[in-house]
Symmetry: D2
Subunit: 308 residues, 4 copies
């Protein structure tokens, strides 16, 4: 289930192996869940702390090094900690369970790259998503993305992009009206993924420039005439597709030399070499998908808790 | 404290009076808080259910009418319910308490209009924010916004916009590293406000098109050389200003006739007249400010819970 | 619904009137709940702060005066605060809603006095519970209780007692296995009622002196042969009656003079006259019943949240 | 740290070895906690599922077999699950961390046997607690307990008892006034331990037979003249020792033959042989101590979350 987060053929991602050997430690018996918490153990057989040793007293720009230091006054610099992208493997594992719950209610969820390094997918053809190395639904865009990644890699720099999450089959009625609105919970879940700097639903930021007459979705006996709302109205699902877009910043670890300081506030130059991706996409896509799945599965279960 | 949410001189907002008479029912004794919950009672003396009566069996496009109906199979159509903008008065009241907590730690927070109806504030001069009817920090933009609002009002349509929230004086170290990241909690709190369709931190969506070398904030002995992160790194405040932008959709209640259906799925035409704002800004600004203040005050208190 | 908590004919309780005028402020529309929170407003028309004025700088033994002072360094001495028995009216109001949920699943709940001032009910005949002033299911015990109360009243002292809560019709399967065990949640809910000093389930403290062969409930095709478990095994309801007993301390407000101190730690004598009950039973009985009902309704709803 | 829960010399407990090899998997770096969750891994090297195989389709009286079956319709019968006493090892591990937090604030906590098999400790001399096999503070009682255990063991039966938890050095002011009262949270935490059927604070059930004038603790300039409250007044610690008593039922696994049914509701006889303790005390004592420590540490941290 975790193939998509794992690095692989994409030139935007590294060749570090991290074979995600999964062990289910509890909660499953004779091929069935027992109702107890499912503990999934994912050991990193390919961890290599030595490569982090040279940064142990220095704050990498764009990383949590300096904020962890400020918060805890102690920092485990060995890599793989809670600010590591590796932390997301747990989210994907939990998401796999959530997606199985959703599947039983015929809810499907998929995340894909709609922009990478400024190059946009102009068409959304879902059958292409898993046929290229960038999780992109536009095969023409993939060619340009490939070039862009290659170029930036040579320059020792990195790229960001935009992930879109599409959820189909969600029944109307999920979400709590005030603080636990469905979109509010989705926003929290997605924004809690490292590297995410923005979340929007439906027309999102674009809606701020639209007229009410353009942005409102007319209602017909057969459903909504458009889906500018992104499937959520007043915090509650309206039965239409839920559409979420996620802004992902460029990978902060770059070869290009940057200015920073060390723990003693002495200025330092830093150039980060090693096994770093050029872009968090497409590996982050399945993480976004997983977090959305967890939130929707949770609201689905809440909505079942009814006495008639 | 609630003057800003209350309607007033702005042509974008209505003249309905709703005198927000506030009564503190508990939690304050001899001018001091007692540690008990503070109950604030805001009675709407100007409520008028009759104007909603004609929509009681019809779903207003862009509103929660249809999703509440789907969720609960019963809908209190009399206005002022949980999907009403009036619900935000409670958020502003709680925000006033949160802001008092922040003030004691020298944390300031202000929200202002950086875009309305597609017209952007090109300069941010905070001293202008409360000198115009749109909460806008650019006095030249105000002139154009005024015209735009006037024009759209005549057409019976409505506008959206973008609110920016600026928080200064936040100490480094607030936020929990994984799910309760400071930006994740802010995203949820802001997205839980009706009409909000997007939230971004720092460079936000723009960061997705930037290079790592452009977006990373270099670190100097005197602090960060730039603030693309928006004051939060790896979910934890970095001591810099926190900068949040909020996408607000156009007001869904418009005079222009729209297609919809009624409870029996019969197609209907609807034109919504009455006391509706043209834009949720600037009245929503203080709501955004309040929700951010509540989240930051909460994380500030969490960070104090330490045994040394 | 609140008749039972209200004072009345019992000589153990006072004649203060506190007409519990109930106003439902939200959540109900056209005689039905709407899914929104139900706010119930119970105004105390008979509040009289002046009688508390003489205790404003002195700590009444057995009350929370000294602990509130220690915690908050400010104390609202006017009566009716969070440490007041009046706080329980909200619990009873919420319990009424919970009991309506339970009723729809044929779950019944009743609380009664099984001991007051050391006098035990020797028989449990539920039809007597509401036929006497002490909520006692043993009519012979009532006669002795009456005498005991009369005697203690003259002496200016007060009494405690034991409440039993009986819940019938609970389906097997409610409760979460580890921390949120059904009995754990019940224990918390009941212990959170002022004046409660102990909670036990089934044979409770007596089980500590029994043999395994005595205390285990044998299982037959028709159910359990006995109910020493009190209807809960390993934190999960077993389908049998849930039986809870609650230890209630004597009312701390007594006319008999006691030693105490004031805010400046100066020794003082205190004799508390006025409208105080001799015993928290039977008025506390419905509070116990309500808290148990809330917990069970909550677990019932959790158990409904299932995808098959 | 876990020596006390581990089985050992006591004749009431078995000789199964379960060497509790503890591995700290996260949260500690260079001998210090890092602020991240501390994951402690306790592998059971001595697990033996085969001994449970004969009970896989039969419900052991007094155990959760039948309630788990009712709740989940699937049951992992291999032992060591969530209804196993082994589950408490995690509580003890977490309690060790909590006790370290308390120690820094000079709060001490100890649990000991005050009754086992009906034999009461008549004196509380804490220096004896760890000098005998029953965690009992009365050396004379130990002699009788030893005989009682020996006798019951021969008969193939089991015993219950009462644990007392004593917490000294708790500052006044911990606990939240309404639902999260300190005693309410303690009651939940303790009742969530398997085999516990009752919890009382201070005079507890005995208070129900006392007069107000007897049970109230007079207040003097030097503190309370007595400690009937058990250190908690109105849900908030009063600075005195916190005293909790815990009713523990007899071990349900007994050699004596019992009536039960299997999954198909066919009557069966069951005699449980193997590595079962005669009494949950003294091994449960440190579990009680740990749960109380966790609650108090949590309330201590809450109370630190203050802006002055």
């Amino acid at each position: 289930m975790m193939d998509r987060r794992k690095p692989g053929g994409s030139r935007a991602s590294t060749l570090r192996r991290e074979p995600d050997n999964i062990q289910i430690m509890s909660g499953v018996f004779e091929e069935k869940t027992t109702g107890t918490p499912i503990m999934i153990w994912i050991e990193n057989k390919d961890a290599d702390s030595t490569s982090y040793e040279k940064y142990k007293d220095i704050f990498r720009p764009g990383h949590g090094d300096i904020t962890y230091h400020a918060k805890y006054e102690i920092r485990d610099w060995r890599g793989g900690g809670r600010a590591s992208a590796r932390e997301t493997s747990a989210r994907v594992a939990a998401g796999a369970v959530a997606k199985e719950i959703l599947r039983r209610e015929n809810i499907d969820i998929i995340a894909y790259t709609i922009e990478l390094g400024g190059i946009k997918a102009n068409t959304i053809d879902l059958k292409h998503v898993f046929k290229n190395n960038y999780g992109c639904p536009d095969k023409n865009a993939v060619i340009e993305i490939e070039k862009r990644v290659e170029d930036i890699k040579k320059k020792g720099d990195s790229l960001g992009g935009i992930v879109e999450i599409l959820v189909t089959g969600v029944p109307a009625g999920l979400g709590e009206p005030v603080f636990d609105k469905l979109d509010a919970d989705i926003a929290k879940a997605i924004m809690s993924i490292g590297a995410v700097k923005g979340v929007e639903i439906g027309t999102g930021f674009k809606s701020s420039t639209m007229l009410g007459s353009e942005n409102n979705d007319s209602i017909t006996p057969d459903g909504f005439a458009s889906n500018n709302s992104g499937g959520i109205l007043a915090g509650i699902s309206n039965g239409d597709d839920i559409r979420i877009r996620v802004a992902v910043k460029p990978i902060p670890s770059i070869v290009i030399e940057q200015d920073t300081i060390d723990k003693d506030k002495i200025p330092q130059k830093i150039s980060i070499k090693g096994r770093h991706d050029i872009s968090a996409l497409p590996r982050i896509n399945v993480v976004c998908e997983s977090m959305a799945a967890i939130v929707i599965a949770d609201h689905l279960l809440r909505q079942k808790a009814v006495i008639l």
